[in-house]
């Protein structure tokens, strides 16, 4: 039996008067890839930001590894094993690739940095080639790899990826998803937010569809790939 990593119950998030997340509940179990798909503005990124403490829910509960993390500040969650790769990568553009990765291990003891770098470089050989280069000069795909590598440096129990395919050429999207699959096979539990529903559902164990702040459809990746509504709305018929 796999154990529950994340359990979200009835969270509600507001941006001023706008009710962005409405009574959202979902779960992630150990070893899963859970996808959160939906259109632009459906509330997927807001959900992730709420999980990582950058935004606050007014209600409900968020349990991570059995503990309520609703009121834990964002910078304390990393050490507990929750890593968030934000939308738009958000790498530190003026720092080198290796410095970015070191920042990823900010909460880890110094002795873990070297093995961490080695592990990241096996998944992302490109980053090793460019490790002395300033991150702002990397291509979009490389920046995405760096953002993911940086999150892996904290040895997370749950890796949350926000739109890893955004703005990338199809060949790079393939590569990034290949890596996501590899990370999963290496034992990382993943919560994946994607607009590219096709790609996301093809690797997801389970998926949730979000529409205007609500979760409307749930099922296994396969089920949703063949669900008529999902096909019409997100998979181009």
């Amino acid at each position: 039996m796999s154990s529950r990593i994340l359990s979200v119950e009835d969270i509600n998030v507001y941006y001023g008067a706008i009710h962005a997340i409405k009574d959202v509940s979902f779960q992630v179990d150990e070893g899963e890839i859970v996808a959160l798909i939906g259109a632009n503005g459906a509330g997927k990124s807001t959900t992730l930001k709420t999980l990582s403490g950058l935004l606050r829910s007014q209600t409900g509960s968020i349990e991570f590894l059995g503990e309520n993390i609703m009121h834990v500040p964002a910078d304390k969650l990393v050490a507990r094993g929750l890593a968030h790769v934000p939308e738009g990568r958000r790498v530190f553009a003026q720092m080198t690739v290796e410095e970015n990765l070191q920042m990823g291990a900010y909460t880890r003891p110094a002795s873990e940095i070297e093995p961490g770098l080695e592990r990241v470089y096996t998944h992302f050989p490109r980053l090793q080639e460019r490790r002395r280069q300033v991150a702002g000069t990397l291509s979009g795909g490389e920046q995405q790899m760096l953002a993911m590598g940086r999150a892996l440096m904290s040895s997370p129990k749950l890796l949350m990826l926000d739109e890893p395919s955004m703005g990338l050429a199809p060949i790079l999207i393939e590569q990034i998803f290949q890596i996501v699959k590899e990370l999963h096979e290496a034992g990382t539990t993943i919560l994946l937010v994607e607009q590219n529903a096709q790609m996301a559902l093809s690797i997801a164990s389970r998926a949730y569809v979000m529409e205007t702040g609500n979760i409307t459809i749930t099922g296994t990746g396969d089920e949703l790939l063949h669900n008529d509504e999902v096909r019409k709305a997100y998979l181009g018929g």
Binding site: S52, G53, L54, P73, A74, D75, K76, L77, V78, A79, A83, H84, P86, R90, V91, F92, A93, Q94, M95, E99, Q102, M103, G104, Y106, T107, V134, G136, T137, L138, S139, G140, Q143, R150, A151, S154, G167
Partner: protein, 293 residues
């Protein structure tokens, strides 16, 4: 030629004071993204503390500098905590106005405590300078100032480039939310920056008053504004920029005083700033980082 070199020495030493102040400005701006206009007044407080410790308590100069550093560091952290932190989510104008308010508050507090009558500050350094240097107007203070400035810049470069805390500061300066996602405590990092900037201000205050011994509540404001100019000149946010900007500003000022007009020197300094900003809007060392998407 000797006269020119004398002016150059004057410019270099005054420029080093500006550079030390500018380094504080730039550190705070780089991380907190705010212009701390009270920075110049922290300098003045530092000078008063040093003055009190030597004149009233009769303790050695080194102790007075340490006391000034400690008091200013605490003051800097307090100012940030009480005046700026509550405005973390507010617009930049609110913060700017608050900073101006803090500046007046410090000046008036100093006037209340120490009175408006200028104090006569005795230089904290007094050793014999070799005769050949003396010919070029090199004083003990100018030697100490230039060396202090170089040491401080090197230390800051090392700190931000090599240490974990320093790198975390750079990360915060680029992207606070992303830094938080790394586990970096942004509030503590900002506090730390204010502490460093204010400690530098204390040192600058003592050196400044060792040069021009008149200490009054407004002592810090003009050097503060000039150092701010120096920081912008060099590219605000950049440590080598603040250093080069400070030194250049000191030299330009000294040369303007010597060869053009003493009373116009300030105007010339600011005119040069305007020209530099017209040509290089980001300042001499201001970074334009191309970002690929």
């Amino acid at each position: 030629m000797t006269v020119f070199l004398q002016y150059l020495v004057n410019g270099l030493s005054m420029g080093s004071v500006y550079a030390i102040i500018a380094l504080g400005y730039t550190m705070v701006y780089g991380i907190a993204k705010m212009l701390n206009f009270a920075h110049g007044d922290v300098i003045m407080i530092g000078a008063y503390i040093s003055f009190c410790v030597t004149s009233y308590l009769g303790l050695p100069a080194v102790v007075s500098v340490l006391a000034a550093v400690v008091v200013c560091t605490v003051l800097g952290i307090l100012i940030e905590r009480l005046a700026y932190k509550p405005l973390r989510q507010a617009g930049p104008l609110a913060v700017l106005i608050t900073a101006i308010g803090v500046s007046y508050f410090l000046q008036n507090a100093a006037q209340l405590i120490w009175g408006a009558t200028p104090k006569n500050f005795t230089s904290i350094v007094s050793f014999q300078v070799p005769a050949f240097l003396k010919a070029y107007n090199v004083s003990a203070v100018s030697l100490v100032t230039v060396v202090a400035c170089l040491v401080i810049m090197a230390a800051l470069m090392w700190f931000t480039g090599k240490t974990k805390m320093g790198k975390a500061m750079r990360a915060c300066s680029e992207d606070k939310a992303a830094a938080q996602l790394m586990g970096i405590n942004v509030n503590r990092t900002i506090s730390m920056t204010f502490a460093i900037g204010s400690a530098l201000a204390a040192i600058a205050g003592v050196l400044l008053c060792s040069y021009s011994p008149v200490l009054q509540p407004t002592t810090g404001s003009m050097p503060g504004i000039k150092a701010f100019t120096a920081a912008v000149f060099g590219g605000i946010g950049s440590i080598p920029g603040a250093f080069v900007g400070g030194i250049l500003l000191g030299i330009i000022e000294a040369m303007a005083q010597a060869y053009i007009s003493t009373s116009l020197a300030n105007s010339i300094v600011f005119a040069v700033l305007i020209v530099v900003l017209l040509v290089k809007p980001a300042g001499l060392f201001g970074k334009y980082v191309p970002e690929k998407v």
